[in-house]
């Protein structure tokens, strides 16, 4: 079947044999966008997070047929936006990324949170990121980064 997606603002068409193929595999393998990572493949870690029609999803759980006609924002696409830039700089400055494997997913979850709530407190950030596992940082510096991005990106998050 042919699947139509708007990925990072660009219209893309992908031929898939099987509509149950995971959105994660399509964006990584067919579209060559490897920012989203596979950490578990079972919806538990959030490393594969993308925004699907503005909603934070684990792309390892989304069958491609279900995404037909949708808008997808991947970590690469987020990085192109002013909000993404502010967030990436905050992660870099606050040391919110250590090994970095969870970081693209954390960026997506942080953006989803800030779009919803542009001035979250620490507890709200903890809740917003609770679907994303980080084994390196203990989360504290990720929270610092989100607080910094909220501060520095005032007005950007709508």
């Amino acid at each position: 079947m042919t699947v139509k997606l708007t990925v990072n603002g660009e219209e893309r068409q992908v031929e898939v044999k099987d509509g149950t193929r995971r959105l994660l595999d399509v964006i990584r393998e067919d579209l060559g966008l490897t920012g989203a990572k596979e950490g578990c493949g079972e919806g538990e870690c959030g490393a594969c997070s993308v925004l699907l029609n503005g909603q934070l999803v684990n792309s390892c759980l989304v069958p491609i047929a279900q995404a037909d006609g949708s808008r997808v924002l991947t970590p690469e696409g987020l990085a192109q936006t002013p909000e993404g830039q502010v967030l990436a700089e905050a992660f870099t400055e606050c040391h919110g990324a250590q090994c970095g494997f969870c970081t693209p997913g954390m960026m997506m979850a942080s953006a989803a949170l800030l779009y919803r709530n542009s001035q979250p407190n620490e507890q709200e950030i903890r809740e917003g990121l609770s679907g994303n596992i980080c084994r390196c940082t203990g989360y504290d510096m990720i929270i610092d980064a989100v607080l910094m991005a909220a501060q520095k990106g005032r007005g950007l998050w709508g």
Partner: protein, 735 residues
């Protein structure tokens, strides 16, 4: 550098690439592109380094049997383009060489000792066909009873797995007349303390690509120790050292879990590339990774202590057993660290310590941040709580009287040569956490508690290992335009050398850190500065880099290419006898305190951590946020170890928890912020005074947690993880 203070933090040089998804991990590398490009870490990308379109997929056939002699193998019909590779294909030695052992075979040949042991690798172009071929393989074994744990190991269930007694290794230490001390003691305290398996849970699973290039072989991917991989592959393929090229790609976490496994996985893959002439790629999914890669050694520590009528410590009698799994691999050196750390920060006048590494039919245990110290420090610190209860005194008061001081003997009769600032660390811990005030205020058994644990961690390899075994070397190169590049084999798997090493060189040369080049290691380009383990990277390798930078600064020639090299030599005065285990077992030590405050629910027996503090002497923090990030991340892992990370085995020695939904690691909601603090105490042979610190942050958070729970519930809690069922059992036992 703009700032005079090396601790002042800078943005991470690798941060933007990681945050924007640009950093390429092994699973992200493009295939078939033209050569000559490099990825963000500066390593080459292209067909000549394993990324051609002729890449094959590899999968292991792993033993479905836990134990027995192999009597038959049956392989399916293999279509064109597919190959099954096993022990018969190994051109060199069929064993994985590790720092202190070579007993693990590359491919199981005569016997299997655990479920999941690698028997063969199947390679070919289509992953589905490869899977089907793997499913078509069978082996028969003459089965023997499975030995599941240390008790069964000691009882020699099914006969010995290793040698005649199942003991891989022993480490024994003695000082003074322990029997006499116990005979004269007014009070004797005693306890048995257990810790379980722990999964490293790096977020990026194991993954490598191997390839053949004429008479040479290449390996690239996720690893901690490029030269360990180089040694293992040369050994198995029978090649000279320059016959193997190893390249590190961006590493998504390691924690010790990528110290041995890239050799265990990479050597059989390299044989497959050697046989087929083609690149082979293998990425482990989470289930395979959790089921078959090495974990932290489970332990049982038995402590007895003798005290006189005035409450002075006379002696300690300690037994430390660790479960090494089916092959020795790193068990001896893990045991050495467990034993050398087992008296903690205390001066013990007489002791008898008996340590054993035992064989069982489970996945070989391996390296994990702390490397034996988290096990014995749990035993010790929980025993100090026990002793304080027996003596009727406050545990912190008891501990303070025993604090080590400069000039005291180490556990191996060496000398603590550097200033010890435990009192200052205690003052800082009190200031931040109000430990003593809270400890006095919370009634025992009142469901709220606070605990404190103490840490000592020897930095670098044990004894003269740095000098005799590792012999680390680094180099700096300057081009005609004055650009300086660091050449060493240290891997950044998140712990920060990409940041800190650049800062060290920049500070010496008066440059900015971002001007200093530091690519991910490629053994064709960098000297062997040793493995990225043992809290040695900053202190040992970083110091060589500082010395090299000083050399370059002092001999700087404008407009010329220059190369300077540095080799490790032992700090003056250090002496070690490896036969007798006597002398300075470490060059120096990191010190620390963990405090944890909890609330326990008397209905569900769930425990909530309400405060966590980590206070350390790291010498000097080369970057405060790098150090604080280690403190916070280590605290999260050690609290996970103490509170929730339960990993059990079934009746055949398989792990029960092999998915993320079964094995619980901390989320952002599980623990509060860790308040991190350091007190400066510069070490003369570390860069700008820095000592090792990456491991000690995981050494005792679990002990502080368990001590806090003991106060909350009013019962001894001598085993971790203290999940609600365990706590409920403890409460019922003591009813």
């Amino acid at each position: 550098m703009k700032s005079k203070n090396i601790s002042e933090t800078i943005p991470r040089p690798d941060g933007m690439a990681k945050a924007t998804g640009r950093a390429l991990y092994i699973a992200d590398l493009p295939q078939g592109d033209a050569d000559g490009r490099t990825q963000d870490g500066g390593v080459p990308v292209g067909p000549s380094v394993g990324l051609g379109t002729n890449q094959l997929v590899g999968r292991f056939y792993r033993s479905p049997h836990p134990r027995g002699r192999i009597t038959a193998r049956r392989y399916p019909q293999v279509p064109d383009g597919y190959t099954i590779v096993d022990a018969t294909h190994v051109p060199g030695k069929n064993q994985i060489p590790m720092a202190a052992s070579r007993d693990l075979p590359c491919f199981a040949d005569e016997e299997v000792r655990y479920i999941g042991q690698i028997v063969a690798i199947v390679v070919g172009p289509d992953p589905q066909v490869v899977d089907e071929l793997v499913d078509g393989i069978e082996i028969d074994v003459e089965a023997r009873p499975v030995c599941l744990n240390m008790e069964e190991s000691i009882a020699l269930k099914g006969g010995a797995i290793h040698g005649t007694d199942n003991v891989f290794c022993r480490v024994d230490l003695d000082r003074g007349d322990v029997d006499a001390a116990f005979a004269h003691a007014a009070t004797v305290a005693e306890g048995v303390y257990d810790t379980g398996f722990q999964e490293q849970f790096y977020m990026e699973g194991q993954g490598l690509i191997t390839w053949r290039d004429g008479d040479r072989v290449g390996v690239r991917g996720s690893m901690q120790c490029p030269y360990y991989v180089n040694h293992a592959v040369t050994h198995v393929l029978g090649l000279p050292h320059d016959g193997v090229r190893v390249i590190q790609d961006t590493v998504g976490g390691a924690f010790g879990g990528k110290e041995d496994y890239p050799e265990i996985m990479g050597a059989p893959m390299a044989v497959a590339s050697w046989v087929t002439g083609q690149p082979v790629k293998m990425l482990m999914d989470r289930v395979e990774d959790m089921a078959f890669t090495s974990k932290r050694h489970p332990s049982r520590c038995t402590y007895r202590s003798a005290w006189d009528a005035q409450g002075h410590l006379l002696a300690m009698d300690v037994l430390i057993d660790i479960d090494g799994g089916a092959y020795e691999s790193y068990t001896k050196i893990v045991l050495m660290r467990a034993v050398f750390t087992c008296l903690g920060v205390y001066n013990v006048p007489a002791f008898r310590i008996r340590g054993r590494g035992l064989a069982t039919n489970t996945v070989p245990s391996g390296a994990f941040r702390g490397f034996g110290a988290p096990q014995s420090l749990f035993g010790l610190e929980m025993h100090m709580e026990e002793a304080a209860r027996t003596l009727g005194v406050e545990s912190l008061e008891l501990k303070k009287k025993l604090f080590l001081q400069k000039g005291d003997s180490t556990i191996t009769e060496g000398t603590f040569r550097d200033t010890i600032i435990l009192d200052e660390l205690v003052a800082e811990a009190e200031r931040l956490s109000q430990y003593s005030q809270k400890r006095a205020q919370y009634p025992t058994g009142g469901m709220r508690g606070i605990g404190m644990s103490f840490i000592i961690h020897g930095c670098g390899f044990t004894g003269d290992g740095e000098q005799k075994i590792i012999k680390g070397e680094v180099a700096l190169e300057k081009d005609e335009a004055g650009h300086v590049e660091i050449l060493c084999a240290a891997v950044d798997f998140g712990q920060g050398p990409q940041t800190t090493f650049r800062k060290v060189v920049a500070a010496v040369l008066g440059k900015e850190p971002e001007e200093i080049g530091f690519r991910y290691p490629d053994t064709d380009r960098v000297p062997d500065s040793g493995p990225t383990v043992a809290s040695r990277t900053m202190m040992v390798v970083g110091y060589l880099i500082q010395k090299a930078a000083e050399d370059l600064r002092d001999h700087w020639k404008e407009g010329e290419f220059q190369r300077v090299e540095q080799k490790y030599s032992m700090p003056p005065g250090m002496a070690w006898d490896q036969e007798k285990l006597l002398g300075d077992c470490y060059a120096t030590y990191g010190w620390g305190i963990n405090v944890c405050e909890v609330e326990t629910d008397p209905v569900t027996w769930e425990t909530k951590v309400v405060g966590a503090w980590g206070i350390y002497d790291v010498g000097k923090a080369v970057d405060q946020r790098v150090v604080d990030g280690q403190i916070q991340g280590g605290m999260s892992q050690s609290l996970g170890y103490g509170a929730m990370e339960k990993l059990e085995i079934d009746h055949s020695g398989r792990f029960r928890q092999i998915t993320m939904s079964d094995y619980m690691v901390p989320t952002s909601l599980d623990f509060p912020r860790t308040e991190a603090s350091t007190v400066d105490n510069p070490y003369p042979y570390g860069p700008f005074g820095a000592k090792g610190m990456g491991e000690m942050v995981h050494d005792a958070g679990h002990a502080a947690y368990a001590a806090a729970v003991e106060q909350a519930v009013g019962k001894p809690c001598p085993c971790i993880p203290l999940v609600p069922e365990t706590l409920l059992n403890i409460m019922e036992e003591h009813r």
